[in-house]
């Protein structure tokens, strides 16, 4: 009986061997793949095992971490003044992933970035827990506060973007209505409920939409600044005070439709300065049609239209049509028809004008640093384009300054500061049935000729009385407050 017994022994040995081989396959060959699989909850557990690094504005963190009492995630994200900063930070939620800066700089914030390897190793040797690095933003807390408070007082929906023209630094990025990313940072039932309530299907105001970067609106009359720039760049106009060939009424080419102005304003053969001051549709519509679709598109592209911008948070591409006929080009040139722009895009337009024609790439991350505030990476300002020559930029500046001094933008005036701006009231809805959007783009220039801030404000107010809506009335005061906040914080 011993021969079969020995064979049984071998058989049992083979069973154990099979288990050992399988074990090696799982825990050695496939180990990394299994360990890092996205659905493996350990990845998330590890991710929330230590406090995240912070997002910093003006030297102060606008984020934080708290230890959670329940569940297997040890820390969750908190936000200071969450709704105000949400368009900047995005969110980092245990249950709903993360977005924007929280997502883009996740490696730095969690401390998993390769560039933190040395620091982590050092911490490990000295027995310190692993710590995430920080993201230092370019934002200006005072400007952001002014922007958010302005939008909130207005009560409708809207967005504000403020840039530093000389560098492209984003100083303010506000969107309203907003949300508090703290409310769903955890993974409890309450977090899921808070998340559910913020979704567009349960809240038509769509509070989680980042209107400053991700929503495009018809820019209305603010786009006339681009049209004016195209006119100057084309060489057809060399001065703000040169008379234009603008009949009134003006019938759009190829149609029997007259392009109307808002009210009875002096637009017949007006100079560009006057046309911008009173916001003449006929003048800029005709300039656009005369320049043609290609020239207009080319200039719009130079200002940044038709491409996405990465700040590093992605901003939607703004739209200017191509292959349009002359009447469509005319409408597009006054910011109607297919033209649509993000608030960031319009802030870039104002900023390029203020910066003597040089458009800087907008950015909001100044630097990345380790937890020990050693610098890891610094963002250097980058020139994106030169949409107009310094000379033409100065002509355009003088036109925009007239708008604020004597025209539709008086509400943006600041004592002792030269402000240039442009209002816009964009028609919206089928047959202009819905309330229009109120726009204001502007920049401020100090007596030393430096331009510390350019800003774009858009308000979509479904509840306002229609006749009250105008860029100058609703949007300009917010822009003024933001510019003042920036100027005061420079002092």
């Amino acid at each position: 009986m011993n021969k079969p017994l020995r064979r049984i022994a071998i058989f049992c040995g083979l069973l154990v061997l099979a288990l050992l081989i399988r074990d090696n396959w799982l825990q050695y060959v496939k180990a990394d793949e299994l360990r890092t699989a996205g659905d493996n909850r350990r990845v998330a557990i590890e991710r929330y095992a230590a406090p995240r690094g912070d997002i910093i504005v003006d030297g102060e963190p606008i984020t934080g971490s708290v230890e959670t009492k329940a569940g297997d995630f040890k820390y969750k994200r908190t936000y200071k003044n969450g709704p105000m900063w949400a368009p900047v930070t995005g969110y980092s939620s245990q249950a709903f992933d993360s977005t924007q800066l929280e997502k883009i700089n996740d490696g730095i914030l969690t401390g998993n970035d390769d560039r933190l390897f040395f620091r982590n190793t050092l911490d490990m040797l000295t027995g310190k827990p692993k710590q995430g690095g920080n993201v230092v933003t370019t934002l200006n807390a005072a400007a952001q506060k002014a922007a958010y408070a302005g939008l909130k007082n207005q009560g409708g929906k809207g967005a504000v973007v403020a840039l530093e023209p000389s560098t492209g630094k984003i100083l303010s990025l506000a969107s309203y209505p907003s949300y508090d990313p703290s409310s769903f940072a955890g993974s409890r039932d309450g977090d899921a409920a808070a998340w559910g309530k913020l979704q567009k299907k349960s809240d038509s105001a769509d509070p989680m939409l980042n209107r400053a970067l991700r929503e495009t609106y018809p820019p209305g009359s603010t786009f006339k600044v681009v049209t004016a720039a195209a006119a100057l760049e084309s060489g057809k106009y060399s001065s703000a005070d040169q008379k234009t060939d603008s009949p009134l009424p003006w019938v759009m080419p190829g149609t029997q439709t007259e392009l109307k102005n808002e009210g009875n304003i002096p637009c017949k053969d007006a100079t560009m300065r006057v046309a911008l001051q009173f916001s003449c549709n006929t003048v800029f519509g005709k300039i656009g049609a005369d320049l043609g679709n290609d020239k207009m598109l080319e200039e719009a592209k130079k200002f940044g239209f038709t491409s996405e911008h990465f700040t590093p948070t992605r901003a939607n591409a703004s739209v200017f049509g191509k292959d349009m006929n002359d009447s469509q080009t005319a409408l597009s040139s006054i910011g109607q028809f297919d033209t649509a722009a993000t608030p960031l895009q319009m802030a870039m337009v104002a900023s390029a004008v203020a910066n003597d024609g040089k458009l800087m790439k907008p950015y909001m991350v100044d630097s990345l640093q380790s937890s020990g505030i050693d610098p890891i990476e610094k963002t250097e300002p980058q020139e994106l384009n030169q949409p107009l020559s310094p000379g033409n930029a100065q002509i355009l500046q003088s036109m925009m300054e007239t708008v604020v001094k004597d025209g539709t933008g008086k509400n943006a005036q600041i004592n002792g500061v030269t402000v240039g701006g442009k209002t816009g009231t964009a028609q919206h809805g089928v047959e202009n049935s819905e309330n229009p959007y109120a726009w204001f783009i502007s920049y401020a220039k100090l007596p030393d000729h430096s331009a510390p801030v350019a800003v774009a404000v858009v308000i979509e107010d479904d509840n306002a009385v229609r006749d009250d809506i105008s860029g100058g009335g609703l949007a300009a005061p917010i822009a003024k407050n933001v510019m003042e906040a920036v100027i005061n914080s420079k002092k």
Binding site: L5, R22, D23, Q27, R35, A37, N40, R42
Partner: protein, 488 residues
């Protein structure tokens, strides 16, 4: 470390100038290791989870040490020549199992679904009961051949045990398998005990019928088929077991019983054709059962594509039973890697309700890593090896058969559970002997170790008298059990 303690019997025997070493001191030294290692592990868990040496460390160490000591003394007294490795190996596994269960007890997630929390205390009580049964086996089963008398009673008992869960009001359907019986708040898994009783029946029956099965066979298509009257009873018992198990939807146990049966038949008849026959039958049986049993189809699906099953289990609105367990276990193994996360620092609680029973191996895999898990698999391998060695050393066919049956069943159980948990074969829902939480399993396996120790003691005991015949095996067959007169 070994000693050569010779019993008085031995010294007076005519042949006994060369004393067989009893190896009891070796066993004691190994046992100390087998207690110290889990005690360290216990301290390790406490330090990892709560940054302090657990308050119960002394009690735990004392408890485990006491149980091991009692078992050792019982072996020293009642089975002095027993294999010295079996007890320490089983103690080590049992001790590590207790630590892992205690570690899972600390998991808030498992506490919240009432799987863990205080289970280690229960398991310690079960271990005490198991070791008590172990001692009882050693005291009352003075001679393993006594069991031979109960061949047919064993058959009845085995069937009774297997039928119990089907009794209305007594059986409890837990997570799809009806293999538990419930009395008050106690649940017992009769299958674990049936394993041992069935081995006794097979051993007794095959010992009597082995010649008939091996020799009186007709050749059919190249295979030697036994006569129906020899095979009949076994086939009937096997078939009934399978039927019961199909109704109880427990593929693992039926596979285990059938495997044990084939192994013992092969050892009894020494005919390779039985292996072929057995494999064919098991394949046919498995395919047949799987074709109409949804519970088993689900298991096979989950084995083939655990991730899909994981996703289904998370998708709202998907009907049917979908379990993410296997995928969770695979992640646990992978996350452990080569060296593991260390005691208490893994997240095997994500496996949820079976984390401390069927899937406890995943905790070991994650926290002790490839190195630790291989060590544990080798410990199982060693237990099986000692069992088969006992079978080789046994002088009587009944002892050989019983030893190989029990160790073969043990090996199959380890393979089926570990293979299932590691995704090598479909999951069948049995528990790792000694490691997993559960009273029936621990108690039954201690009884199994007790019987193996009894057989090994008999096998290694120096011959009480000069062998009357050079063929000792033949001589002993003539002897009708322990009560018969010694053939001198």
């Amino acid at each position: 470390m070994s000693s050569t303690t010779n019993t008085p019997t031995h010294q007076t025997s005519t042949i006994g100038s060369i004393g067989a070493p009893s190896r009891r001191n070796t066993e004691l030294a190994l046992l100390i290791f087998a207690v110290v290692i889990p005690v360290f592990a216990y301290a390790n868990v406490g330090l990892a989870l709560n940054d302090q040496v657990p308050a119960g460390l002394l009690g735990y160490g004392f408890g485990l040490g006491l149980l091991a000591g009692v078992a050792h003394l019982a072996v020293r007294k009642f089975a002095p020549y027993a294999d010295p490795l079996l007890l320490p190996l089983a103690t080590l596994l049992n001790g590590l199992g207790l630590v892992a269960i205690w570690r899972l007890d600390q998991s808030k997630l498992l506490q919240s679904i009432h799987v863990a929390g205080g289970k280690a205390t229960n398991q310690l009580i079960y271990t005490a009961m198991g070791i008590t049964l172990f001692v009882v086996v050693l005291i009352f089963l003075k001679e393993h051949r006594t069991l031979q008398r109960y061949t047919y009673i064993s058959m009845v008992v085995a069937l009774f045990l297997l039928l119990l869960p089907l009794v209305p009001g007594l059986g409890a359907n837990v997570y799809g398998a009806k293999i538990w019986i419930q009395i008050g708040s106690f649940t017992i898994q009769p299958g674990e005990f049936a394993k041992i009783v069935l081995a006794v029946f097979f051993a007794g029956y095959l010992m009597v019928k082995r010649d008939a099965l091996a020799l009186a066979s007709r050749r059919f298509m190249g295979l030697y088929l036994p006569r129906g009257r020899d095979l009949g009873p076994i086939l009937v018992v096997w078939f009934i077991s399978i039927l019961i198990l199909v109704f109880e939807t427990d593929l693992g146990t039926s596979l285990l019983f059938f495997g044990m049966f084939v192994i013992m038949l092969y050892v009894a008849t020494e005919r390779t054709s039985w292996i072929v026959f057995g494999l064919l039958m098991s394949a046919a049986g498995a395919v047949g059962v799987a074709s109409f049993e949804p519970h088993i189809q689900v298991r096979v699906q989950a084995w083939l594509n655990p991730f899909h099953e994981y996703e289904l289990s998370r998708t709202p609105g998907v009907t049917g039973v979908h379990s993410d367990q296997l995928q969770q276990a695979l992640w646990a193994f992978g996350s452990g890697g080569t060296l593991g996360t260390g005691w208490g620092q893994g997240h095997s609680e994500l496996i949820r309700f079976a984390a401390n029973s069927d899937f406890i191996l995943a905790t070991f895999g994650e926290e002790l890593g490839l190195a630790g898990l291989m060590a544990i698999l080798l410990i199982y391998g060693l237990i099986v090896e000692r069992g088969v060695r006992t079978a080789l050393a046994a002088r009587d066919p009944f002892g050989k058969m019983l030893a190989v049956g029990l160790s073969g069943a043990f090996a199959l159980q380890v393979f089926v559970v570990a293979g299932g948990v590691m995704g090598l074969i479909p999951l069948t829902g049995m528990t790792m002997p000694f490691l997993a939480y559960g009273g029936s399993s621990v108690i039954a396996n201690w009884a199994l170790i007790g019987i193996l120790i009894r057989i090994s003691d008999t096998a290694r005991r120096p011959a009480p008298s000069p062998a009357a015949s050079p063929d000792a095996e033949m001589t002993q067959i003539v002897r009708p059990g322990a009560t018969g007169p010694d053939p001198q």
